[in-house]
Structures are given as structure tokens and as C-alpha cells.
């Protein structure tokens, strides 16, 4: 694509462009981490709390670890958790939502369970699951996905309820289409646009929750650098070495902002009717 073809698109959807470029940049950095960043784990006590310099782009933390290297490796965890949580929550939420919307008999039961999960604060549920199953990236991903499922389920259910009696669905049904195929071929497509938008919001909130869990010491094991545990391990040195707290903090905010902008842009582009849902 030439520049003249890209510019009008950027002007029309500035939020998608800004969010997308920012995310692509961070994703690239995360992928290329071993080539563009030094050792994120090794520490040199002589170099404790050194301000940003040529040797250490963003200085060092209280153990003499390279903040820049940890930042680049930390992006891997944030993006991995954000993307997998969005995927897991959307797939399982959509499945449950399809069933709840299409079969009135199980609807009430499923929705009460979903209401119950929604009533438990997400971060407490995650803390409890991590305390129970031990800290690992997989456990964190599962723990963050569970509270997101009801949001997807409600969304999909409401779409199913609004299309299940429309003529094209009736027609397919009277043709003798079996229920699984009916759900997959005729009902599921109506949910795709709102689901894509919802997936970006879930991704943003998952990145925030993961960082929160790591910050509280209930996230990934401490030896894996994440933006949350970087802030947690540096918080006592805020006055002496503000870069150790602000570098991961700003990265976190920028990435979440990028995902949110992407979501807002996609929402305006794909489905202007739906507004932001909690």
C-alpha cells in the first residue's frame, strides 16, 4: 500500500491507527526481546539504582538489574496474558451465551451463575485462585479469564435473544437445520462484531488485572519480570529512583490506552449501536 492510500484511512479512523501502531510496536519489541535487550534477570549490586545512562537506557533497579531489559521482557507477559484471556473469555463466554440465549430452560440457571460470578470482585477471585493453585502464568490467565466470562455471556445472550425469532432463523429452522449448525451458521455471525469489540476491552482489563496481581505479589512467579512486579519491587525507592517505578507504569498505561483506543475505534467502525459495557 502506498502512503496516499494509507493516509485517508488514518484520518478516518485515527483511534484505530494510533492504537494499532502503538500495539504493533510493543508486540515487535516483545518478540525481538532477546536481540534488542540485555539480560533482564542478572543483577550487579555495584550498579544499584543507577540513573538512565548510555550503558543502562532506563537505569537500574534496587538490585542493579537493567530496567530497560526488564521492561522489554515484561511486555511479553502483558501481551500474552491480555491476548489469551481475551481469547479464552470470548470463546467460553460465547458458547455459554449461545446456549443460554437459545434454550430458555437452562437460561435462568446459567444467568444466575453468571450474576454470582459477577458479584465477586475480579481481583479477589483471582487472588483466591492463585493462592489455591500456586502462582504460574497459566494460573494467572485462568484466574483472570473466569470473571470476564459473564460479560461475554450476557452480550452474546442478548444478541441471540434478539435474532432467534427473526425470519431468516425461522426459515433455517423450518428447513430442518439441526441446532448446532443453526447456532453456528445462522446465529453466531450476528455476534461477531460486538464480540471483537468486547475482546479488545477484555484484553485491556486483563492487562490491568495481571499488573495489579503482580503488584500485590499474587501474580506470576517473582523471577519472571512483569511490569506489575517491577513496580512492586521498586516502590520503596520511588524517591531515590523514580524511573524504576515510572518506566513500567508509563508502559502499562500506554499499552492499555492503545488497546482501549483500538476498541473504541473498532466499535465506531463495526457497530455504532453498542456502547461500552462493563
Amino acid at each position: 500500500m502506498t502512503l496516499s492510500a494509507i493516509l485517508p484511512a488514518v484520518r478516518r479512523y485515527p483511534t484505530i491507527a494510533i492504537g494499532g501502531v502503538l500495539l504493533a510496536f510493543v508486540a515487535l519489541a516483545a518478540l525481538l526481546a532477546p536481540w534488542i535487550a540485555g539480560d533482564p534477570i542478572g543483577f550487579e549490586p555495584i550498579n544499584r539504582l543507577k540513573p538512565p545512562s548510555e550503558a543502562f537506557l532506563l537505569g537500574t533497579d534496587s538490585l542493579g538489574r537493567d530496567v530497560y531489559a526488564r521492561l522489554v521482557y515484561g511486555a511479553r507477559i502483558s501481551l500474552l496474558v491480555g491476548l489469551t484471556v481475551a481469547l479464552i473469555a470470548v470463546v467460553s463466554g460465547a458458547l455459554i451465551g449461545l446456549i443460554a440465549g437459545y434454550f430458555p430452560r437452562v437460561d435462568a440457571v446459567i444467568m444466575r451463575v453468571m450474576d454470582g460470578i459477577m458479584a465477586i470482585p475480579a481481583i479477589l477471585l483471582a487472588i483466591a485462585l492463585v493462592a489455591l493453585m500456586g502462582s504460574s502464568v497459566l494460573v494467572v490467565i485462568i484466574a483472570i479469564s473466569i470473571p470476564e466470562v459473564p460479560r461475554v455471556c450476557r452480550l452474546v445472550r442478548s444478541v441471540v435473544l434478539s435474532v432467534r425469532n427473526l425470519p431468516f432463523v425461522e426459515a433455517a429452522r423450518s428447513n430442518g437445520t439441526r441446532v448446532p449448525k443453526l447456532l453456528r451458521r445462522h446465529i453466531l455471525p450476528s455476534t461477531v462484531a460486538p464480540l471483537i469489540v468486547q475482546a479488545t476491552y477484555i484484553c485491556a482489563s486483563a492487562i490491568l488485572t495481571e499488573a495489579g496481581l503482580s503488584f500485590l505479589g499474587a501474580g506470576t512467579p517473582p523471577e519472571i519480570p512483569t511490569w506489575g512486579n517491577m513496580i512492586a519491587s521498586s516502590r520503596l525507592f520511588l524517591m531515590l529512583a523514580p524511573w524504576t517505578v515510572f518506566a513500567p507504569g508509563i508502559c502499562l498505561a500506554l499499552v492499555v490506552l492503545a488497546v482501549n483506543l483500538l476498541g473504541d475505534g473498532l466499535r465506531d467502525r463495526l457497530d455504532p449501536r453498542i456502547s461500552r459495557r462493563m
Binding site: 479477589l124 493462592a131 495489579g212 507504569g249 483506543l261 462493563m278
Partner: protein
Amino acid sequence: MLSYILRRLLGVIPVMLVVGVFVFSLLYLAPGDPAAIIAGDNATEENIARIRANLGLDRPFLVQFFDWGGSVLQGDLGVSMFSGIPVIELVRQRMEATISLTVTTLLVAVVLAVTLGVLAAWRAGSLLDRAVMGVAVTGFSVPVFVVGYILVYYLSMKLRWFPVQGYRPIADGLWDWARHLVLPSLALGLAYVALIARITRTSMLEVLSEDYIRTARAKGVATAPLLLWHALRNAAVPIVTVIGIGIALLISGVVITETVFNIPGVGRLVVDAITRRDYPIIQGVMIIFAGVYVLINLAIDITYCFIDPRIRYT
């Protein structure tokens, strides 16, 4: 209307039952056999089995669940495994700080956010509108602890306007209490303000485009009463709904805010319990927070009857 309220009240039961099953399963599945711990290192299998029977731990899941649920309903949330103090007592000791923080944040955030949202909708497309929306998107993206440390670094450490951390009970003086709450409330409230300002703007924009608003304006109604009395009242239902749903955001935020500012509240209680694997505390606080969330949303559902007589509750 009465039957609507009654039905909503009954609706609380299944929701809390689901919460209960979730929370109880946590203790049921938690690693480590309490009977083995009580029996000590030299216990025989028989000893452990006897203690287990005494504690009632050999009974079926459902029996144990209803037994536990019964004591929760009577306010017995179990005993901390670490300190041996009843969980309800621990919560009571730390309640004041958490309530002070959340209630002040809630009040200030709602007033501020609704004002901003109304102004943004009134001057849609203006610089003011863009500024408010910009703050809303950003506010939603910056984590509580990052906002917290930025505030602490500039306003406490550099300018020395506010204390860096801690909490003062209200009994020690109103001024000191308020001074210690300013930064935590700001950090906690930002995302909440963003959420409510956004929905207020959307809801107001919809209402402001309606015919009756134009009629009122033509009739000579002044701007302030027009916005507040004619428009905001009709835009209120979605706003109030989001205020209720957003309580979840505040509750999750409180756990982190109390850690950032070293506030000895209920949130800190949970965070301290993580490393000690003090499951009864985690469980008890989960039940309490879930209960608060459900009750607030119940209250909000009931207020719909009063703010919007158009809705029929049959």
C-alpha cells in the same frame, strides 16, 4: 411496584448462593488437611481420621456447605489460620479506613463525573468536550497504582502538600483524616470518574436531541434548569446503573490503593493473607465484598421506581 421490589429482594438469594458455593469450594479444595495439621507430626492415621470426624470434615460436600452457609448467615466467617482471631473481628477493626476511603471516593467521583459529563454533552464537540473525553479514555487506561505513585511522587515527595501514606481515624481529627484521604481517593476515583463521565455524556446527548428539550428551550427555560431538571432527570437511569456496576471497580481498586498508600483497611487484610495462605480471611472478605456489591445494586434497582415513573414494573 411492591411486587417488583419483593421479586428483586428474592433475586438476591440465588446470586449469593452461587457466591457462597464458589467461596466455600475454595476452602474445600485448599491444599493442606486441617485435621493433619491439628494432629501434629507424630499422629497416626487413626488419630487424623478421628479429628476429621470431630471437625465434621468427613461429611459430604453439600452437608458441609450448608453447615458453613448457616454460620456465615449468623455472622460467623471463621477464624484466621494465622492469628486465631475471628475473621469478622479482623474486618471490624479495619472497616473504618476502607469505608472512609470508598464512601468519600464514591461521593466526590459521582458529583465530579456527572458534572463533567453534563458539561461535555451540553457543549458537544467543543474543546471542553474533547478534554473531558480525553481524560475519560486515559483515566480508564492508567492503573490505580501508577496514578497513586505519580501523585505521591509529585504532590507528597516534591511539593509536600499531602502525607506520603497512612491513615488517621476520624476520631483523631477531621482535618488530619481528610488530608490522608485526598491522594488515595484521587487514585482510586480516576477510573470511576472516567466510566461515569462517559455514560453521562452519552445518555445526556441522547436526551438533549429530543423534541421536548427543544420545546422547553423555546418556552424560555434557562440553561441550568434545562440541563439539570429537564434533561438529567430523564438521562438518569443508565447513569445510575453504571454507578452501581462500577462499584466492582471501586472494590477491586480499594485492595490495590490500600497497598499503595499503606492504609490498614480490609483490602490490606486480604493482601497480607495471600502470602500467609490464610484462606478464611480471603473467603470472608470475598463474601463481604460480594454482599456489599449485590446490596448496592439491589438498592439501585429499587431506586429506579422513584427516578423513572415511566418504567412499569409488572
